[in-house]
Amino acid sequence: MVEFLQLTLSGIVFGMIYAAIALSLVLIWRGTRLLNFAQGGMAMFTTFVALEIVYKTHSYWLGFVVALAAGLALGAVTELTIIRPTLNKPELNSVIVTIGLLVLLEGLAGILYGGQYRSFPTAFSQSGLHIGKTALGVGRDDVFVALAVLATTLILAVVFRYTSAGLRMRAAAFNATVARLAGIRVARVLTVGWALAGLLGALAGLLVSPSTYLYPDSMDAIFVYGFTAAVLGGLDSPAGSVAGGVILGVGLNYVAGYVGGGRGSDLESIAAMGLLVIVLMLRPAGLFAGAKTRRV
């Protein structure tokens, strides 16, 4: 029972990180109908930036803020320079461009920062929390991780739902032509979408790197699970991202903890595929697919 609690809680923490990546993918998907394969690579890069700042200034929070700003900038610059020219080209071109960007960023990180594992600081203590004598299996910092992602998601949801900036972004995402005819500068909105996605990715990088170490490929596996979470939840649904992330994080923890007699971690990717296949067979556009998915 204690083990179940521990598995659930630590699963939620990892799930929230998958959710952050998933959310950034959803932001870009809704705006540009494009999967950004460089999302993990961008997060890795901005986290290296944060690490440099932390080493130089010994201030975690300064590094944190700079990394978020770097994420915004990297997202916007990426959209303006290499994504925009591909948008009216054959559809896969922009995907290959994001793959190229991923490889480029990993190469650059290797050149600038070397290929070693670098430990990344946490915001709060990692020592485990207890209720009475029961260890929860998560530390104060894990609580911060979960809350940070949740808060960011909620802020985004409010902005999207209740502000005119949010309305512009949603309109541009759902129907670019109508949005333009309503006077919305769709191109600018897309850039903002990429910038926000960059910010979310940077947040994910900052939050996950203490538990994964930082190195050029460190976000690859996280990206794959984040992508899986986005697909599970439905690529048009931010709420789906969070649900998908948590379901994946907790589900994989149960598989690793209870299946295969100590060798469950081998089965995790197989379990993730199984989960994905089952969900998609029942709901081909993800768990949170809207009532109306037909699109012209």
Binding site: E3, G11, G110, T122, Y213, P216, A221, G262, S265, E268
Partner: protein, 448 residues
């Protein structure tokens, strides 16, 4: 030193002209093979084998310089190369300079196959040295043996390199294999923690599985309460640690890479769980571990103290042991040629392997064929920096066969008792090594 090497170079150039003049006299006699014919003026240097010219010896390797295995392992080849540069600057190997070409394979066997084909077929290397990784190197071991290319000191503790010289006559292991390591650690655990509950935590590949095999030869299965494995691509090991905790394991024996040793420590911290850790050599480098744990435990405890008390084994001197002559030598080489790398277990590993290779090259003679190198190693190598003796013979291509048990304290592995040697069988005894450790040659060049 400097003028000496220059004169050797001139000699080399002269002989190059001589060879060119003689044109196609391909059947070069192998001069001074296997012997210690280190005499200065005996025979001219010739292009005695592919990759050998009168002035150079070109060797190749495949290494994970990028990709998931790069952290840690990408230091090894530069460190080995640093030692080769040191040798080159101090007279080379009978005047020849070692040219070390190592290609990145990203730890992908398909790429390994591609780069090794290039090294052998295109770059005509004399030998493949210290190719890193079990799955990667398995992709090229048959090719290298079919091409009769010496495949020496594979950087992996798989039994595959040493067990069957008849199948792979050109392949040689070097580091302590994981089964022997498991046996030595297992014996220690069985003796010192009798009656305790033991848990295993291991990387689910041949490294961890062979290690567990060795452990099981020594630890009664009734003592083992939980066996948890991980895959290196998945950093979330909370489930495994929770299971070890739930099973009440008081001692956890870990066959893990340093990152996962650190994660094991960290995740235990979150559970308020502090078992005695016994960690294989691969995952216990104190420098690396302290670095990985330092920022983790920010505020609570410091990284160095988290590492204290870990029990491990070593087949080379500990990098933190400044009084050891080998460490002095390798630290000096490190500081001169690759000062930007941390002086940790990986750097030490690369330099020690390179030292062993140079030692073998000297033994192979002034103008060695490829077979001469193989014969020289099979005839046995001096122990050099290793703690235990090499197992090289015509019937065994195992490298180091023994190790000591040590405890980490203040960034150094402190040796407990004397070195132990054993074999890879389930019943083979573990005995105290009767020989003595050697000290490093004063000029840093293997005696010849």
């Amino acid at each position: 030193m400097n003028s000496c090497s220059r004169s050797l170079l001139t000699l080399g150039l002269a002989s190059l002209v001589a060879v060119a003049a003689c044109s196609s006299s391909s059947s070069t006699p192998a001069v001074g093979s296997g012997g210690s014919s280190g005499g200065s003026s005996s025979a001219a240097l010739t292009a005695s084998a592919p990759g050998i010219t009168p002035t150079t010896i070109t060797i190749g390797s495949h290494q994970p310089l990028t990709g998931p295995a790069a952290p840690g392992y990408s230091e090894i080849a530069p460190a080995a190369n640093a030692y080769f540069q040191y040798v080159n600057a101090h007279g080379g190997v009978y005047g020849r300079k070692i040219v070390y070409t190592y290609h990145d394979d990203g730890y992908n066997p398909t790429t390994t196959s591609s780069v090794v084909h290039e090294l052998v077929l295109q770059n005509n290397v004399y030998a493949i040295f210290n190719g890193l990784g079990t799955p990667t190197h398995l992709a090229v071991v048959s090719f290298l043996n079919s091409q009769k290319v010496p495949d020496v000191f594979v950087a992996s503790g798989c039994q595959c390199w040493g067990e069957t010289p008849s199948q792979y006559p050109y392949t040689f292991g070097w580091q302590l294999d994981y089964v022997r390591e498991g046996k030595i650690l297992g014996q220690y655990v069985a003796q010192h923690f009798a009656g305790k509950k033991i848990g295993y935590f291991y990387q689910n590949d041949e490294f961890g599985q062979d290690g567990v095999k060795g452990l099981d030869y020594q630890i009664p299965s009734s003592m083992v309460v939980s066996r948890q494995s991980y895959v290196p691509t998945n950093v979330n090991i909370a489930p495994q640690v929770a299971a070890l905790h739930a099973a009440g394991a008081q001692v956890v024996v870990s066959f893990s890479i340093p990152a996962f040793t650190a994660l094991l420590k960290l995740t235990s911290l979150k559970l308020g769980y502090s078992p005695q850790l016994v960690v294989s050599n691969v995952g216990s480098d104190p420098t690396t571990l302290a670095g990985l744990l330092n920022t983790f435990s920010k505020g609570a405890v410091n990284g160095g103290s988290l590492v204290n008390g870990i029990i491990t084994d070593g087949y080379l001197p500990s990098a933190g042991d400044a009084s050891n002559s080998w460490i002095t030598l390798f630290k000096m080489v490190h500081d001169t040629y690759v000062p930007r790398l941390p002086f940790d277990g990986n750097v030490l590993y690369g330099e020690a392997a390179a030292y062993t290779f140079v030692s073998a090259l000297f033994k192979a003679g002034r103008n060695p064929s490829r077979q001469d190198l193989v014969n020289a190693i099979q005839a046995g190598l001096p122990q050099g920096p290793a703690i235990g003796p090499y197992g090289y013979s015509t019937s065994s291509h195992y490298g180091i066969t023994g190790a000591y048990i040590g405890t980490i304290a203040n960034g150094v592995i402190t040796q407990q008792g004397s070195a132990l040697v054993t074999d890879t069988t389930s019943s083979g005894a573990i005995s105290t090594f009767s020989g003595t450790e050697q000290s490093a040659p004063s000029d840093g060049i293997p005696p010849h």
